[in-house]
């Protein structure tokens, strides 16, 4: 019988939750890498027993852990992330130029076509690739040539936080960076261009329509429609029907269009989920009500999903990598909060239950369905 495995990265370690496919009863692991920040944990779609974890602290730097037995045992792999060639500079908070400096790995994305290949999105923003299961990492430096001198850190740092791999075209890679925007390569990472046409950042950029500098928080797509992309921007929820060439706003009737994560239903490419928070300076749900919003029309018209979620005095947040969907016939959704609660829905968001609570601040959530 298949098992559902939820991989949770937190500020003080990682956790693995498991359930059968009913998703009614969950087992929570002991903390993995206790005391370390774990920005992301993700399994390979080709070999679900292979899982990568990005582990770091300010004291001891970055480590990458790999498990080949579904999280039972772990070994460190390569942790040298050396920028390629001249390091160069990017914009600093005050507008001056600042040298690129590696800080941490934000996101690990195992490849869809080769089990030994995995991508890493890092801060300061760059994309690295390993073709030997994480033992060694090479930068794809052409990305930083896409006007890297104009990129600047968001409040959380200048991070490459989102990596979308095309399900059938291994040459197409889409990434998102705060605060630079979304970028696409159609040649396996050899060249890149900004895909930010239609984004408007009225309060963040001198030119609100600039091609580079937008604070993109997260991107999502359903592999069945890889040209249909959804974006949660700093402000605004956006959609593209042509692989990011053009974007249009779909915020519609959301109570706020500020937020961090965005997710797409596993079987309905036009069903999309966001978790609005009040504003850029008040990172908590409007009215103290934790609501997931679902659009079944590809945006524009949104319904609040509240059953099982706290509807008073809730002032938590959900970070950009902390929402995921499973691939079971009735799509499951999962998200973790900055106050350490992990919520799950086994019916597309209609009903929610807490499957773990009082964890450390949740940084990331991923889910696997293991045969």
């Amino acid at each position: 019988m298949a098992t559902v495995r939820v991989l949770v990265g937190t500020q003080k370690g990682a956790f693995i939750l498991t359930s059968d496919t009913s998703r009614r009863a969950w087992t929570v692991s002991e903390p993995l890498f206790g005391g370390w920040e774990v920005y992301h944990v993700k399994g390979s779609p080709l070999d679900p027993q292979r899982i990568y974890a990005a582990q770091s602290t300010g004291w001891f730097g970055q480590l990458i852990q790999r498990s080949d037995d579904g999280g039972k045992s772990w070994n460190t792999v390569g942790n040298e992330f050396a920028y390629c060639g001249e390091v160069g500079t990017h914009q600093w908070y005050d507008g001056s130029q600042h040298p690129w400096e590696f800080n941490r790995v934000w996101h690990l994305e195992p490849d869809l076509h080769d089990a030994e290949t995995v991508y890493a999105g890092v801060e300061d923003a760059a994309l690295f690739r390993s073709v030997d299961g994480g033992q060694s990492w090479q930068e794809l430096p052409a990305l930083r040539a896409a006007h890297g001198e104009l990129w600047q850190p968001g409040a959380g740092g200048m991070c490459l936080h989102t990596i979308l791999l095309h399900p059938t075209d291994p040459q197409r890679i889409i990434v998102a960076i705060s605060a630079a925007g979304a970028f696409r390569s159609d040649d396996g990472g050899e060249s890149w261009r900004g895909i930010n046409h239609g984004l408007v950042s009225n309060w963040e950029l001198p030119d609100p329509h600039a091609n580079v500098g937008h604070c993109v928080h997260n991107l999502a797509m359903n592999p069945a429609r890889p040209d249909l992309l959804f974006m949660q921007k700093h402000w605004d929820v956006m959609r593209s029907d042509n692989g990011g060439d053009d974007w249009r706003e779909i915020s519609g009737n959301l109570p706020s269009d500020f937020g961090f994560p965005i997710a797409v239903h596993a079987h309905e490419p036009e069903t999309v989920y966001v978790i609005p928070i009040k504003s850029d300076s008040e990172h908590f749900p409007p009215e103290g009500k934790l609501r997931v919003y679902r659009s079944r029309t590809g945006g524009g018209e949104w319904e609040a999903l509240t059953h099982g979620l706290p509807q008073e005095h809730c002032y938590t947040n959900v970070l950009r990598d902390a929402m995921a969907v499973d691939t079971l016939e009735e799509c499951g959704l999962y998200f973790g909060t900055t106050s350490g609660h992990l919520y799950a829905s086994a019916d597309g968001g209609d009903h929610w239950t807490v499957i773990a609570q009082h964890l450390p601040k949740v940084l990331s959530v991923e889910v696997q369905v293991v045969p």
Binding site: G58, W59, F60, L63, T76
Partner: protein
């Protein structure tokens, strides 16, 4: 032979007990000790000093003979008491935070 103590997280990472004994050829310096530690315990690579510059990580501190030697040149010989294993070389995660 010298005796080295690591902070808890790095002991767990390297899979070692509280104390590590190392045979370090003369001259016994911080650089030589770190080279051997990273050779014998590859999981420690990058955790004590940066890959790109070789510099000590800012929150790593070295103590020998009761003195903070973190800012000493890394090719300076360690005190005789450490070289003779009468005292430990302490590698410490600095106190930081609130």
């Amino acid at each position: 032979m010298i005796r080295v103590r690591l902070p808890m997280h790095l002991r767990n990472l390297a899979g070692v007990a509280r104390e590590i004994e190392l045979e370090v050829p003369a001259p016994v310096t911080i650089s030589a000790v770190l080279d051997l530690l990273e050779r014998d315990y590859p999981a420690l690579r990058g955790t004590l000093r940066r890959y790109d510059t070789g510099e000590r990580r800012p929150f790593i501190r070295f103590f020998a003979g009761g003195e903070d030697i973190s800012h000493d040149p890394t090719d300076r010989p360690l005190p005789a008491a450490v070289v003779d294993a009468k005292e430990h070389l302490l590698i410490i995660g600095a106190m930081a935070g609130g």
